[in-house]
Symmetry: C2
Subunit: 202 residues, 2 copies
DNA sequence: CCTACCGATCGGTAGG
DNA sequence: CCTACCGATCGGTAGG
C-alpha cells in the first residue's frame, strides 16, 4: 500500500474515531461513513483495519523519536551535552509539542497501541521503552551531576512521561491554555519533580 | 441485581479482561469462558455487559473518594487543616494505595470510563472532575500560603493526577517496587512538582 | 469506488 | 446455570 492523500485521510478520520471510541469500538463502516463512502471501499486503500492502526501508531512513534532527537541536537554543543536540567526540559517540551500538534494520533499512540497484534505490539513496546529510557538516562545523569536528587530515576521518568502523555486526555485546541503555555508549565513541573527530595526538608 | 459472591467474581474477571483488551474488545463470552460457564449464564447475575462496567467504575469512584476523605481526615486537626504540602502528600499517597490495591478495577476506571453510555459517562465525568478539584484546591491553597509557587494550579493538578493514574500502566504486583515505596516516591515527586518555578532560577 | 455477499461473532432472550 | 436460538453487526472478499 502506497501512501496517498486518500490513505492519509483515512488515517486522520480513523485517529479521531479511535480516539473517541477506541480501536475495538470503531468499525470499518464507522470510518467509511465519516468519509461518505462504503465500508468495503476502504479496502481499495488499506489492507485491513489493523493496518490503519499500525500506520497511525508507527507514524507517531517516529514523530516522538525525531522530535526528541532534534530537541537534544538543538541544545547540545559539539564539545558536549547540555546540562541534564536543560536536556530534560528539551525532551519535555518536544513531547508536549508533538501531542498538541497531532492530538488525534497522539491519543491513539498512547491508548490504543495495546490493540496491535502481538508481534507489532511487542516491537512497539520495545520502542516505547527505548524512548522512555531517554528520560531515565537524562534524570540519572542529573542525579550523578548533583543537579537532581531524585531517589529513583526509573520511577521519576515513568511519573513524568505518563504525566506528559496524560495531556491527551485533557488538552483541547480551543481550551484556556495555548500549546506553548502548556509546554512551559509542563517543563517546569517535570524539572521540578526530578529535582527530588533533598531540599524538601521533610 | 443484588451483590452476591458470584456477581463480585464476574466483576473481578471482567476487570482483568477489560484491562487487557478493553471493554469493546472483550465479549460476554470471554468473561464467561474465564469462569467456565456459558455466555448466556452470565445473565442470571448481571443485567448487561454495560452493567458490569458500570459496577466496576462506580465502585472504584467510591473507593478513590473515600480514600481521599479518610486521608485528609487523618491529618487535619479539629482546629484546622494541615498544611497544603501535607494534604497534597496525603491525597497522593491515598490515590497510589488504591491503585496498587485494586489494579484491575483501577485500570478500568482510568481507561474504560469512556465506554459508559452517555448518561452515566456524563455523571462519571463530573465525579472525576470533583475529585480532581480536591488536588487543584490543595495546590491553590499552597500557592496562597506561599508553600507552592506553581504558576497554574489547574495544570499542576492535571499533571500530577494523570501521573498517578499512569501507574496503572506500569505497576506490577511482582515488580521491583513495593506499593509503599511507590507511594513514597510519588508523594515526593508530586509535592516537588507543585512547589513550582520560583526557586529554580531559570 | 460500488453492489452483493460471506462466515463469524456479537449482546441478549426464551424456556427450562 | 444450561441449550437453543434471535437479529444485528463485524471484518473482509469477489467481481466489476
Amino acid at each position: 500500500m502506497v501512501e496517498t492523500a486518500r490513505r492519509r485521510e483515512i488515517e486522520d478520520v480513523a485517529s479521531t474515531l479511535f480516539r473517541e471510541r477506541g480501536y475495538a469500538g470503531t468499525s470499518v463502516r464507522d470510518i467509511a461513513r465519516a468519509m461518505d463512502i462504503q465500508g468495503a471501499s476502504l479496502y481499495a486503500h488499506v489492507a485491513s483495519k489493523q493496518d490503519v492502526l499500525r500506520a497511525i501508531v508507527e507514524r507517531m512513534a517516529s514523530r516522538f523519536e525525531h522530535a526528541a532527537d532534534d530537541a537534544l541536537k538543538a541544545i547540545d554543543s559539539p564539545d558536549g551535552e547540555a546540562t541534564p536540567t536543560a536536556r530534560l526540559a528539551a525532551l519535555t517540551r518536544a513531547h508536549v509539542e508533538v501531542v498538541t500538534d497531532d492530538l488525534g494520533r497522539a491519543t491513539v499512540f498512547v491508548h490504543e497501541w495495546r490493540s496491535l497484534e502481538p508481534d507489532l505490539r511487542a516491537r512497539m513496546s520495545k520502542r516505547r521503552d527505548t524512548y522512555e529510557r531517554r528520560f531515565r538516562t537524562v534524570i540519572a545523569d542529573g542525579v550523578d551531576s548533583g543537579e537532581f536528587a531524585t531517589v529513583d530515576p526509573a520511577a521519576a521518568a515513568a511519573f513524568i512521561l505518563t504525566a506528559l502523555n496524560g495531556l491527551v486526555a485533557w488538552y483541547r485546541p480551543d481550551g484556556r491554555l495555548e500549546p506553548a503555555a502548556i509546554a512551559e508549565l509542563f517543563t517546569d513541573l517535570a524539572v521540578r519533580a526530578a529535582v527530588g527530595t533533598d531540599e524538601l526538608g521533610r
